[in-house]
């Protein structure tokens, strides 16, 4: 499973709004997609769907919404032959021109290797009662492949071309899913709440006699469910408010409630089923590939670097390739693979070296294991490997990026939800979180500034960045040309410093993951000091202030996840023998439960050295605490300044 394999599907289902890329097919539809001869069949829409209070739509428009989902209905039939027949009913009412522009296409994601889709109805109703039917030829099929990830998953887009304010778009689609062609237990995850209001959400599930009753769960508040026959259940909720938006939400997937229905399995069963697939692929490598001398740590380092650097990340996710890894021998021969291919190879090599390694499924954009409300593989979109007995705690490695070192993870994976994959089933196995460091951003800044006898200041700074921030910088800069990289670094410096300067700047450690990234700058500030008279001026710790600023949030509705930061800084000032330096202000002792910022200085006859540390541990800040958190950041940014004075010695 690649990180790109599942999320796009979910996003398409959730938002339903994307701009169509150029690569679309026309008119002739693939064989897995059919359209009904009567797309205008009005009876599919519930008659009472339009029973909305007259003022409701104007209220929604005034609240800034462009459209509203009148009905989001799912009807799932489970057949004895293992097929699922899922009917989707969407009725979207438009209350503004913006809404028409933003939500005028309805769409769904399809995995054709195991699914076929029939569009049963697609029409629009104007507010005067007139109806226009979508032309089958206008229905588009768009590939979901992206850079380095190739998939047979497709998005079916139904454009509603005659929408006006007051129109309602109606779409009915039946999807047939052949679960027996899929190697893992089936499950369907629905998203009843969205960024627009949903007036009515309904789920009907029926199963044929002889079919085991499915398991279902939901964390949508107020959902009413009933089992109205021996083999049928129905859930519904009216008037679901829109999810309130915020700029810094760690995971919308965690925030949004789900309805899941699927085969009745345990987490251990899910773990075992996927583990067997991975272990089968890992066992295919016979001959040792990696030199086996050295300590466990050295073995791990060599194997990790080989799989991360020498095996290119390319994902072919068609069919069951989305969840079944290739044999390790195939991957090593081809020299490429996706996350699970790399994991299988890593496991094979690690075990040859005597390391205790195992695979883990990862939900790369989910951080709350409790939000995985029912066992199922569909929550996950990624695979990693972990190794025990090298360090006191297991080390989990990300094999799809060459920019991370042992113990470093890209930011989005730190603390994400994972499930260990074990062929033997430990009791109580359940999803948990990957390690989230107390300080995700670790930085050291060393600055020397020399004030010469003409009052110029020559400033040399070295910023060492470790942890996930180093992975972020490394992966960002390695994709750029030398010119782009220089421009990026200059922009970064200007933003941190607050002014443009003729600075020599370079980055090191970009090609050596695990060693941190070092950004060095050299700049001369002309005539800052009047050499003839007493001069005071205010300096600041620019990198510290820059990264503290980056912690700010404008969230108003949702809690804020703050990645921990540990910034240690030393600033050394020396002055020309004709001068004598003094400190106007600069010592700090700002300690709070949110973090601390401390600074002290030592003074010699011709120099002053400041030592400071800004440290704030990883934490989630609830909405009620956000104003106080902002104030803490305000204090840190303002107090990143310190005041100097220099006078001519007598």
């Amino acid at each position: 499973m690649s990180s790109g394999a599942i999320l796009p599907i979910l996003r398409v289902l959730i938002a339903g709004i994307i701009v169509l890329p150029a690569a679309v097919s026309h008119a002739r539809h693939p064989e897995w997609l059919s359209t009904s001869d009567s797309l205008g069949e009005e009876s599919v829409a519930p008659a009472d769907a339009y029973d909305v209070e007259p003022d409701r739509f104007s209220e929604l428009r005034d609240a800034g919404f462009g459209f509203v989902e009148l009905v989001h209905g799912r009807s799932l039939q489970i057949h004895e032959n293992g097929n699922l027949k899922e009917t989707l009913l969407l009725m979207r009412h438009f209350v503004s021109e913006d809404g028409v522009r933003q939500g005028g296409n309805l769409q769904l994601s399809v995995r054709p290797s195991v699914e076929s889709v029939s569009i049963d109805a697609a029409f629009q109703l104007a507010d005067d009662g007139s109806r226009s039917v979508v032309t089958p030829a206008s229905i588009q099929v768009v590939s979901e492949s992206s850079l380095d990830i190739f998939s047979d998953s497709s998005t079916v887009v139904v454009p509603y071309t005659r929408l006006r304010v007051g129109s309602t778009a109606v779409l009915v689609v039946t999807r047939t899913i052949r679960t027996r062609e899929w190697p893992l237990p089936w499950s369907r995850i629905y998203w009843p709440q969205d960024f627009v209001p949903v007036e009515r959400f309904e789920v009907d599930v029926t199963w044929e006699k002889g079919v085991p009753a499915p398991e279902w769960s939901s964390n949508l508040l107020g959902l009413t469910c009933s089992t109205h026959r021996e083999n049928a259940m129905r859930c519904s909720r009216f008037g679901i408010e829109a999810i309130r938006n915020d700029p810094d939400v760690r995971s919308w997937l965690d925030e949004m409630p789900n309805f899941i229905v699927g085969e009745r399995v345990t987490w251990s069963e899910v773990s075992r089923r996927e583990a067997e697939l991975v272990e089968a692929a890992a066992s295919s490598l016979a001959a040792p590939v990696i030199e086996s001398e050295g300590t466990s740590r050295e073995h791990l380092e060599r194997i990790y670097r080989f799989v991360a650097d020498e095996i290119r990340y390319v994902a072919f996710e068609a069919g069951t390739g989305a969840v079944v890894p290739r044999d390790a021998s195939v991957t090593i021969e081809r020299g490429y693979g996706d996350c699970k291919d790399k994991v299988a190879l890593f496991l094979a090599l690690a075990r040859q070296a005597g390391l205790d390694a195992y695979p883990v499924l990862v939900a790369s954009n989910r951080y709350r294991p409790d939000r995985l409300i029912q066992p199922g593989w569909r929550w996950f979109d990624h695979m990693m490997a972990c190794v025990e007995d090298v360090e006191p705690e297991p080390i989990c490695v990300e094999l799809t990026t060459p920019y991370a070192g042992i113990g470093e993870l890209p930011q989005e994976l730190e603390g994400s939800t994972m499930l260990e994959l074990r062929t033997t089933q430990p009791v109580g196995l359940a999803p948990r979180s990957l390690h989230m460091p107390r300080h995700s951003w670790r930085m050291r800044s060393f600055r020397t500034s020399h004030v010469d006898c003409d009052g110029n200041i020559e400033e040399e700074t070295q910023l060492q960045v470790d942890g996930s921030a180093a992975v972020w910088i490394r992966s960002g800069l390695n994709g750029l040309t030398a010119l782009e990289r220089a421009r990026w670094l200059n922009d970064l410096y200007t933003e941190a410093r607050g002014f443009e300067a003729d600075v020599e700047i370079e980055a090191a450690g970009l090609d050596t993951p695990g060693t941190g990234v070092r950004i060095s700058t050299l700049v001369t500030h002309k005539r800052v000091i009047d050499p003839l008279r007493w001069t005071s001026w205010v300096e600041r710790e620019p990198w510290l202030a820059f990264f503290a600023e980056a912690l700010r949030t404008q969230n108003r509705h949702h809690s804020y996840f703050m990645r921990g930061i540990d910034f240690v800084s030393q600033t050394h000032y020396s002055v020309c023998p004709a001068f004598s330096p003094s400190v106007a202000f600069g010592d700090l002792d700002l300690r709070t439960d949110l973090g601390q910022y401390v600074r002290s200085h030592t003074r010699a006859e011709r120099s002053i050295t400041f030592e400071s540390r800004f440290s704030a541990p990883t934490r989630t800040i609830e909405v009620i605490g956000l104003p106080r958190f902002s104030k803490f950041i305000d204090a840190v940014v303002e107090q990143s300044e310190f005041g100097f004075a220099v006078r001519r010695s007598e």
Partner: protein, 246 residues
């Protein structure tokens, strides 16, 4: 005889003016209330004069009325010129140990740790915009409290004070430490000390507490020219600051 309406009218006029006083608006209503018994007394005095002592006592009544009215007017004048502080200082004399001294707008207060300090009229030692001033008995130590402009920064205020002190008296040693004045509200405060003078002819020691919160910005400056071992507990006094809205 003085007509009853005359002192009543005078008090009412003064009271209306005093109501406009932003610092002590309660003075106006207080004087209005006072005007009632004065007017009643004046009316009674007039009546008595008419009945009991038509000729000789009339002049006495005029004198006594003039004294009452004049005294009242004098007190009002004191209030009018906002010189109550001086009167208060003269009346109360030295402050008791543990006394809490309020700024003239009562926005903050500090505690006097030991006897011997006295409250000065703001502007006596510092600028005219001082909100509170205290001096030690020997007048070698003093404390001044200011409200800072609302749109500045803490660093700007501290640096400005540093530059002023340096330009006037020359700073030989200094220290400044920042801390959260209120751990809950996360208001940052600065506590700075400055040694000034050449150490021979003149030496002085400043301690400055500066606090800038969302709705208040206060600077307390303590000074003493006493030797180190004889210095009053300026830091204790400054750190006893309490903002009234806290």
């Amino acid at each position: 005889m003085i007509p009853t309406w005359l002192p009543l009218g005078a008090v009412v006029v003064f009271s209306m003016v005093l109501i406009l006083d932003p610092v002590r608006p309660y003075w106006g209503p207080a004087w209005l209330l006072l005007a009632l018994p004065v007017s009643i007394a004046q009316a009674g005095l007039n009546e008595l004069t008419e009945v009991v002592s038509p000729a000789r006592s009339r002049s006495r009544a005029v004198v006594s009325t003039a004294i009452i009215t004049g005294g009242l007017a004098s007190v009002l004048a004191v209030a009018w010129f906002e010189d109550w502080q001086r009167l208060d200082s003269m009346m109360s004399g030295r402050l008791e140990a543990g006394a809490r001294v309020f700024a003239i707008d009562r926005s903050f207060s500090i505690e006097v740790p030991d006897a011997g300090w006295r409250k000065l009229v703001p502007g006596t030692v510092g600028d005219s915009d001082a909100l509170v001033e205290l001096a030690s008995a020997d007048e070698l130590s003093w404390i001044i409290g200011y409200r800072l402009p609302p749109d500045g920064t803490l660093n700007g205020a501290v640096l400005a004070r540093y530059e002023v002190i340096h330009s006037v008296e020359g700073i030989s040693e200094s220290s400044d430490r920042r801390f959260f004045w209120s751990p809950e509200r996360l208001d940052v405060a600065s506590y700075a000390t400055y040694e000034v003078g050449d150490g021979r002819l003149f030496r002085g020691h400043y301690e400055v507490l500066t606090i800038r919160s969302e709705d208040e910005a206060i600077e307390l400056i303590g000074f003493t020219s006493r030797r180190m071992e004889e210095r009053p507990p300026l830091e204790k006094m400054l750190r006893s600051l309490e903002l009234t809205d806290e």
